[in-house]
């Protein structure tokens, strides 16, 4: 599967050993990282692009509500119905009113569908990544701090979850579990399908991160401040989350940033296999799995959704890399 591709996990693990760099006089590690990040042009550009995409994701539903955008409005007169309903004209129906052309078959505006699609795709990826990181952090901290049988059980759960073939599980559970979700009262149709994606991506995503966090915690556990907390009789939960958590923000941030694009890709891949949110609700994935069939008749529509999806994935990946490099000076050339 495209998510948590090889280089993400590997990269995280290598950075994990070095997350808390030795402080240089006068500047906190955080400040140093920030300086390093700012100095890197590529990272700053990718940050800008990511922020732009996030901005689009936020305003698109508003613009749709205000009817500035009409991602659902069909435009049959602009289509060549007898010729497979591809847009009339040479460039996939590009015009001032439709800067990226029209969707063959329906004549809906491609730009507005992609922008609203970004909202849905990013929302799914974001919620799923938050859940992944939250679960991974919580269970990783608990396992690492407690040790003993709690650690052993969490370790086995992690092993077990990782032993399942992830992509196949996401695919083959989709129909039965979506129905089950609907029976549990989740609104039918796309809402249930989206919920399924979010939950199941997270369920299969957290264990890798929990392992990383556990490793971090094990090394932190020996530090003075944790022992001090023990001595002062701090409760277990306080140690888990008041003492440990602030020291884990670097791997959390990096992992989160790299998980986002992986989940955006995963949504697209699963859409192609018929899993996930379906039209008319646009997502980057379902738009792309429709557009791949138009290589012969509408090249604009064939390439535009693919390029937009790739741009989202690349910018998030570059941002994640930049963050990792900034937070981990040793990997910095």
């Amino acid at each position: 599967m495209s998510q948590s591709g090889p280089e993400t996990t590997a990269a995280i693990e290598s950075s994990a050993d070095e997350v808390v760099p030795e402080a240089i006089r006068g500047r906190s590690p955080r400040e140093l990282a920030l300086i390093r990040f700012r100095r890197d042009k590529g990272s700053m550009i990718s940050l800008g692009v990511v922020l732009l995409f996030l901005f689009v994701a936020v305003i698109s539903p508003v613009l749709t509500k205000l009817k500035v955008f009409k991602p659902y409005t069909t435009n049959f007169p602009l289509l060549d119905i007898e010729n497979g309903a591809i847009p009339k004209g040479n460039w996939g129906g590009i015009s001032w009113a439709h800067p990226l052309g029209l969707t063959p078959g329906t004549g809906t505006d491609v730009l507005s569908r992609l922008m609203l699609g970004m909202t849905y795709s990013i929302t799914i990826a974001l919620l799923s990544a938050v859940l992944t990181v939250a679960l991974g952090t919580a269970l990783g901290i608990i396992a690492g701090t407690s040790g003993g049988w709690i650690d052993a059980i969490i370790g086995r759960i992690i092993d077990m979850t990782l032993s399942f073939p992830q992509t196949l599980m996401l695919l083959s559970l989709s129909s039965t579990l979506t129905v089950t979700l609907e029976q549990m009262g989740v609104p039918k149709g796309n809402f249930a399908r989206g919920t399924y994606l979010i939950l199941v991506l997270a369920v299969f995503g957290w264990p890798s991160f929990a392992r990383i966090v556990r490793g971090q915690v094990l090394s932190l556990r020996e530090r003075e401040f944790v022992e001090a907390a023990h001595v002062f009789g701090a409760s277990r939960w306080r140690i888990y989350f008041k003492e440990m958590l602030p020291n884990l923000w670097a791997p959390i941030l990096v992992y989160f940033t790299l998980t986002m694009p992986a989940y955006v890709s995963a949504e697209a891949a699963l859409s192609f296999l018929g899993v996930g949110v379906k039209t008319p609700t646009p997502t980057l994935g379902n738009t792309l799995s429709d557009s791949v069939n138009y290589y012969g008749s509408d090249l604009v529509y064939f390439f535009v959704p693919a390029v937009v999806l790739a741009a989202v994935v690349v910018s998030f990946n570059l941002l994640g890399d930049g963050l990792r490099d900034a937070l981990d000076p040793k990997a910095d050339r």
Partner: protein, 338 residues
């Protein structure tokens, strides 16, 4: 030492059992669609009841799970009907242990269906693996050597961008333009080596293999590049350079060797992953591997196939972990003490 091995094996077995139970609970929580998919055009309630019974869904999930485990250990009959065994033994399929079930959509044992599919997946995986390792590592080394130049930027940039396009997009592009439109490649299809020789086999799997390879390649380029850069700053490399060894010798003998270990580790994990089937690539190119089998089974609600594939692949991972752990313990006795 011995005690450790035994304990590790027992834990492994317990995990296997729990894993199959979880799989059953997940897949069997809703069998309505599966019954309907087998029912045909005139599906009346009586028909549904008969089919549910034939498929074995009329039992509670834990009973079905128990029968499944029994099948794995001792084999089982399909249909499981003693009267039929007595009257018409020719109608009853005996599935020998280890039995993973019977697919009524394939009219065949799950294992027999999977066995054929496995070779297809293995073929794509092995060729893809060769492509991405060779080209990925080469490009990574070149990028590292040319660090900072446009060559470096192009290599890293292009692989990163290709990686960002979904597999089905790349696959469709290759299929349509390289095989159909231009005819440069044969229409991808799987011919076993035994039937058509190595070249026909390779010619048939090359496009799906490339599709799968470009997805993994980016990771290897970046990793090789990073490790080569990292190790080239290590003291012993500098020493070698100071000794007056040529750049080529340093890279070949020292840098590359040091970078190799983590790459091999990662390659092993990725290979294991793609051996389990590549649903998207296999679907695009119509290769009947484990991945496409799962896609079809999902579409047709062929639950026994879905369960069979999941159980088989998970069991493989769990057992491999046990073997690796015990092997480590033999090599390094400190492990078992811990």
């Amino acid at each position: 030492m011995f005690a450790y091995a035994v304990r590790r094996i027992l834990i492994g077995l317990a995990m296997l059992v729990v894993m199959t139970l979880i799989t059953f609970l997940l897949f069997m929580n809703n069998t309505t669609a599966s019954v309907l998919a087998s029912c045909g055009k005139n599906c009346q309630p009586e028909q549904k009841a008969i089919i549910a019974k034939t498929l074995g869904y009329d039992d509670p999930v834990y009973v079905q799970w128990g029968k499944f485990l029994k099948g794995v250990v001792a084999g089982r009959n399909f249909p499981d009907d003693p009267a039929l065994v007595a009257d018409h033994p020719e109608l009853v399929a005996h599935c020998p242990a280890p039995c993973l079930g019977y697919s009524f959509k394939n009219s065949n044992f799950v294992w027999d269906v999977m066995k054929d599919a496995m070779w297809v997946s293995i073929s794509i995986a092995v060729v893809a693996f060769a492509i991405w390792i060779i080209i990925g590592v080469l490009l990574g080394i070149i990028a590292a050597l040319k660090r900072g130049t446009w060559i470096d930027k192009v290599i890293v940039g292009v692989t990163l961008v290709i990686f960002a396009f979904p597999t089905f997009f790349i696959g469709q592009l290759l299929y349509v333009f390289l095989a159909i439109k231009t005819g440069w490649f044969a229409i991808p299809s799987y011919t076993p080596i035994a039937d058509g020789g190595v070249f026909t086999w390779l010619g048939g799997v090359i496009l799906p293999a490339i599709t799968l390879a470009v997805f993994y390649m980016a990771g290897y380029v970046r990793m090789t590049r990073a490790f080569v850069l990292e190790t080239s700053t290590e003291d012993y490399i500098r020493t070698a350079q100071a000794k007056g060894l040529s750049a080529r010798a340093v890279i070949g003998k020292h840098t590359f060797r040091a970078a190799l270990t983590p790459i091999v580790t990662m390659a092993g994990m990725d290979l294991a992953l793609v051996l389990g089937g590549a649903p998207i690539t296999e679907s695009v190119f119509n290769f009947n591997g484990l991945g496409k089998l799962a896609v079809t089974a999902t579409r047709e609600f062929d639950l026994p196939i879905n369960i069979g594939i999941v159980v088989f692949l998970s069991a493989f991972v769990i057992l491999a972990n046990v073997v690796v752990d015990i092997a480590y313990a033999f090599i390094d006795p400190r492990v078992s003490v811990k």
